[in-house]
């Protein structure tokens, strides 16, 4: 009798295992992870891209507010140029980023998303190409202005500005790479 019970129990447990196998087999045939889930991953990437944009805009606004207060002894032309330059940079960054709204990603078709990412990437690359020589020119002018104002030896000033520019360059390069890498990842994911 006890033996019979053990056999029945064993059969019951085997039934559970076979039901579990059925579940596993059924799930193996399913794709489960869908396009929307993929979009959600992309959304987090676009969110990173836009965050970089907002950081740039915030930095530019701080520069517009802070620069005239701290360097009010520099020439008016230089101060105005700096303000205009940073304001234009902030507006350009906003224009580049405004077309990529992470919320829209969930509703737009993949081709549109890919095209938008390609446009963003191209604009971002162009803005960097334009900005780089302008920033270099600004650094030289800034150096000249400070030498005029303080009478500091130019070697010292050139070294200080070069050091500051180098740090700024590496931060900008890191942000640039992050945006471009994220754009590439989204485009690649859609193309695949």
């Amino acid at each position: 009798m006890e033996n019979e019970n053990t056999i029945t129990e064993q059969q019951e447990l085997e039934t559970l295992r076979s039901q579990m196998d059925l579940l596993r087999k059924k799930l193996e045939q399913e794709s489960i992870i869908n396009e929307k889930l993929m979009r959600e991953t992309m959304r987090s990437r676009v969110s990173t891209i836009n965050r970089q944009g907002w950081i740039s805009i915030a930095a530019a606004i701080c520069m517009v507010l802070w620069f005239p207060l701290c360097f009010n002894t520099l020439s008016t032309a230089f101060i105005i140029t700096t303000i205009v330059f940073t304001a234009v940079d902030a507006i350009a960054t906003w224009i580049i980023h405004k077309q990529v709204d992470e919320r829209q990603l969930m509703s737009e078709d993949m081709r549109t998303v890919a095209n938008k990412m390609k446009t963003l990437k191209k604009r971002y690359q162009w803005s960097t190409v334009i900005e780089l020589p302008l920033v270099l020119a600004w650094c030289v002018w800034f150096c000249y202005e400070v030498i005029q104002m303080t009478g500091a030896p130019w070697q010292f000033m050139a070294g200080a500005v070069a050091f500051g520019a180098l740090i700024g360059f590496f931060i900008a390069l890191k942000m640039y790479r992050k945006v471009i890498d994220n754009c590439n990842a989204i485009i690649k994911q859609i193309e695949e």
């Binding site: 129990e9 019951e12 447990l13 039934t15 559970l16 295992r17 076979s18 039901q19 579990m20 059925l22 579940l23 596993r24 059924k26 799930l27 193996e28 045939q29 399913e30 794709s31 489960i32 992870i33 869908n34 396009e35 929307k36 889930l37 959600e40 991953t41 969930m106 990842a185």
Partner: protein, 159 residues
């Protein structure tokens, strides 16, 4: 390999494990979706710190079970909902296989959360050592609990 790509491949490979856990801890398809997303988020968060000390499958089981056990079901209606891509619905399909799966679900679903985790791991043919490591109890405790769970399951089939 790109970290995200690597993660995607791991998730694809172990999707049925994650889904099985979510299914057994949910009361409807909506909750399965919520849990599935929550598990994926937690896996992604922990993926950076995963050093490969344990087998990847054990790690996935652990994260999935912990997420499902501790999931705040009040949160389920918040945020963007992403339905999973499934040809059928395990809660409503009427074919023979689905009925069998539902029988398993109904029995396991009557167990408490920790017992559910233990029996799922046992049904996946994991060793007692692995079960103990994943659930965080001693091997002896696993064997004692399993005896009791098996008895409970058999009783349910006679009820």
């Amino acid at each position: 390999m790109d970290k995200e790509k690597e993660f995607e491949q791991i998730v694809k490979k172990h999707k049925s494990t994650v889904y099985t856990v979510c299914y057994m801890f949910s009361k409807d398809e909506d909750e399965v979706n919520d849990l599935f997303q929550e598990v994926l988020i937690n896996l992604w968060k922990g993926f950076g710190d995963f050093r490969g000390d344990a087998a990847i499958s054990s790690w996935i089981w652990k994260v999935a079970l912990n997420t499902c056990i501790s999931f705040d079901r009040k949160k389920k209606r918040q945020g963007v909902k992403i339905p999973l891509e499934m040809a059928g619905n395990l809660f409503t399909d009427d074919d023979n296989d689905s009925q069998q799966i539902r029988m398993l679900y109904q029995r396991i679903n009557q167990l408490n959360l920790v017992d559910r985790a233990i029996v799922l791991l046992w049904l996946e043919n994991l060793s007692y050592d692995d079960i103990a490591a994943i659930v965080g109890i001693s091997v002896k405790n696993v064997s004692v609990k399993l005896v009791r769970i098996k008895q409970q399951l058999i009783k349910m089939s006679h009820a």
